[in-house]
Symmetry: C2
Amino acid sequence: MISENSKRKISESTIRRLSLYYRVLSVLEKENKETVSSKELAKREKLTPAQVRKDLSFFGSFGTRGLGYPVMELKKQIGEILGLNRAWNVAMVGVGNIGSALVGYKEFQRQGFHIKLIFDNDQRKIGSNHKGIMVSDIKNLAKELRDNNIEIVIIAVPSTVAQYIVDDVVSAGIKAILNFAPVNLRVPEDVFLRNENMSMELEYLSFALMNLFEGRLTAK
Amino acid sequence: MISENSKRKISESTIRRLSLYYRVLSVLEKENKETVSSKELAKREKLTPAQVRKDLSFFGSFGTRGLGYPVMELKKQIGEILGLNRAWNVAMVGVGNIGSALVGYKEFQRQGFHIKLIFDNDQRKIGSNHKGIMVSDIKNLAKELRDNNIEIVIIAVPSTVAQYIVDDVVSAGIKAILNFAPVNLRVPEDVFLRNENMSMELEYLSFALMNLFEGRLTAK
DNA sequence: TTGTGAATGTGAATTCATTCACAAATTCTA
DNA sequence: TAGAATTTGTGAATGAATTCACATTCACAA
Ligand SMILES: NC(=O)c1ccc[n+]([C@@H]2O[C@H](COP(=O)([O-])OP(=O)(O)OC[C@H]3O[C@@H](n4cnc5c(N)ncnc54)[C@H](O)[C@@H]3O)[C@@H](O)[C@H]2O)c1
Ligand SMILES: NC(=O)c1ccc[n+]([C@@H]2O[C@H](COP(=O)([O-])OP(=O)(O)OC[C@H]3O[C@@H](n4cnc5c(N)ncnc54)[C@H](O)[C@@H]3O)[C@@H](O)[C@H]2O)c1
């Protein structure tokens, strides 16, 4: 599965596009399509066929010339690359507005991201049952993360405390963090931190509307 | 305010970074800093000073040589560029898990994104009060969007119906849409569509963990 | 079995984004 | 007031990502 050039550095945008391909392949699978060309894949994602082929070529040759890519097989391969053919143990810290929306989101579960633990510091929430998961006391964070082999932590606490939480999470040995607090968090070199910044998308739209008639930007 | 090169095409990444600068400037303002250098700004966002200066230079010269940028003034200028010094009328479609989390999120309000309308098709929700806003029937979408001068619509309905909703939203003349449904929506050329794809970030972390020891990627 | 058409895989070319490097401008110090 | 120290703003250089373009491969039909 891993091709000759697997040691090459892969760009972030390529990985993000792999996610997109994966989603489209799931749809094609449901539509009972056996094969798909880079042209078709590109059309569905508003990319170019060359882009699709180049992205995939970093990881191997999955297609057949003259025919295209086998839908099921390619999906499996991309799943392998992205680590979606396995389960990940996830913990949520902070179960307020956004935290509980995410805990209740079944799509994550179906993708293999299993939320195993929920932490909060609110006494009214600790011990209560959230979608079948008992809310743990934030005080036991480190121990519980380790005992449950948690691999990914989602941060959904107020910005003011996010850095403290992250420091504890990192101390517990976690290497992957998804942060929803609108703040720049510091983590060591070897920890992967991604930020989900919803204001940014709204601000982009705001900018777009401001410039709609000034030629700085076009919608497409 | 608009500089000579304002007609130049600005890249998406520059706009996204402007959002970051804006956020850091708000923090600096709270810290009562009068001025800030590109070096300091870069450090806080993990960018290079040259990047910061280049980004800003697309829109004008806001700094003073030897001194740096005036915090308050620069924040105001970026606010002007991004359209954050004004209010935007926003509507939410779908008030389930994620929809209600967003409606209750005060940060949007404070940034000038005022959620004025909420739509749903669930009879139990229609007419009820959500954080001070009466939930409207989706049937009245077009009329209400127009009557209330809505400029931005947020889509938080199941993927299966998202395209239908978007078609109606577009017919009503809306030019900016933020979509949370994990599906590729079709919109006309002149409509700005942004997708908030949380699975993508988790999948990126998954990929990162898979490759941590293979040299394909480093955390920083 | 051969010829035609379709589509991949990939170096090379191109376009786009970032970083370099430095003249110019301004502050600060004495 | 002069000279040292900063820091901007920006062309030029570099680096990264995307697209081009085509030889190669394979399916399929006759
Ligand atoms: N609500 C949204 O739609 C939304 C959108 C984008 C980003 N965010 C960000 O997500 C974060 C959470 O937002 P929210 O709206 O859910 O807020 P919230 O106040 O509803 O929830 C925060 C939760 O964190 C818990 N908490 C506070 N301090 C804690 C600590 N030290 N340890 C453990 N738990 C602690 C609180 O008890 C609460 O349950 C914030 O940083 C917010 O800016 C929220
Ligand atoms: N919950 C999350 O954390 C989360 C995260 C990322 C993305 N999403 C996406 O956001 C969307 C909503 O997710 P959710 O978890 O809030 O689902 P949900 O089922 O809780 O909410 C969906 C809401 O949309 C309403 N609705 C359904 N059909 C409608 C129609 N035709 N017109 C108007 N309203 C209609 C429902 O009544 C409900 O209130 C989904 O596409 C989901 O994939 C959710």
